[in-house]
Symmetry: C2
Subunit: 181 residues, 2 copies
């Protein structure tokens, strides 16, 4: 049975989740899939394009319209939290999303919803693109900072109660306060 692009992305997500971006090489992927390196280039144009698919997969499980009952502001908070939760367990996920966002912004749907929700919550259309960036920088920065910390703890981790969550939630509230919504 022939290799599929799906399988290549699966393997890439697996290596990223298990070992981080430094170990995610095309050659490692080929080994994992029992093919030669060149075979991968029939299914993906290059590594960057593959990473866009990886980012999309990481964010793929996020649902739109989480709570019809919530206030518009709570809807923003809820989506931001869902994005963070999806990225937090995967090492270097913030870097991968940032890259994908730069190369193909439209490929990461949940990140575009952020702008819509901000407008529904009262942010002016002229400001919503900037506001989305502000929020996204906070989300990705929080994820990266938390993962850097856990890298230092290494295996002898303290197993603490996820201190990053408080800082993250506070940051979201601070931004929304600043937006006056």
């Amino acid at each position: 049975m022939a290799l599929t692009r799906e399988q290549v992305v699966d393997a890439a997500v697996g290596v990223l989740a298990g070992f981080g971006l430094a170990d995610l090489s095309m050659r490692r992927l080929a080994r994992e899939l029992d093919v030669q390196v060149g075979a991968l280039y029939w299914h993906v144009k290059n590594k960057q394009e593959l990473l866009v698919d990886v980012a999309a997969r990481l964010l793929g499980g996020i649902e739109h319209l989480p709570d019809a009952a919530a206030t518009p502001r709570e809807a923003v908070t809820s989506l931001a939290t869902a994005i963070r939760a999806a990225l937090a367990p995967v090492p270097d996920s913030a870097e991968v999303v940032q890259l994908a966002q730069t190369m193909q912004p439209a490929a990461l749907e949940p990140l575009t919803w952020l702008r819509e929700l901000l407008e529904e919550a009262g942010v002016a259309p002229q400001r919503s693109a900037w506001a989305r960036h502000l929020l996204l920088n906070h989300i990705l920065g929080s994820v990266a900072a938390q993962q850097d910390r856990s890298r230092l703890e290494a295996v002898g981790g303290t197993g603490g109660p996820d201190l990053g969550t408080d800082a993250f939630a506070w940051g979201v509230e601070t931004i929304l306060d600043g937006l006056g919504i």
Copy 2:
């Protein structure tokens, strides 16, 4: 005359400013300095340590206490703007600073001043570390976004009036508003 660590850092900053992080390899540096690669490793422990020095150099020209006459809030804005101005012309500088910040936070003095100024402006000491991160993520995110845009324009650039500046200033004000200072 023997090679110095200073010269290695100089060369690294030069390659980064001129060609970006992708071209900043130890081998390229050795070529530029007319030595063998191994020679570099007598002056720096590894590439990461060198990049910390590069980041420190990029931020090294920033002065503390810019305006004694300014309000505390203006002092924060002024420092944030100075940091952005120092990084904006150097490709991939945000990535390099983020790496350095992770590896040796104390090595980047101007970034530590940000916290002090925020406290002087009225941010509670328990919140000032989080607030600094929020602001820093905005600064670095703005720099990266602007450089990504100018990468797409490439050589045939429109030469527009630096649209990123407005978004940056607005973001700083929004964060400070959210902090209630």
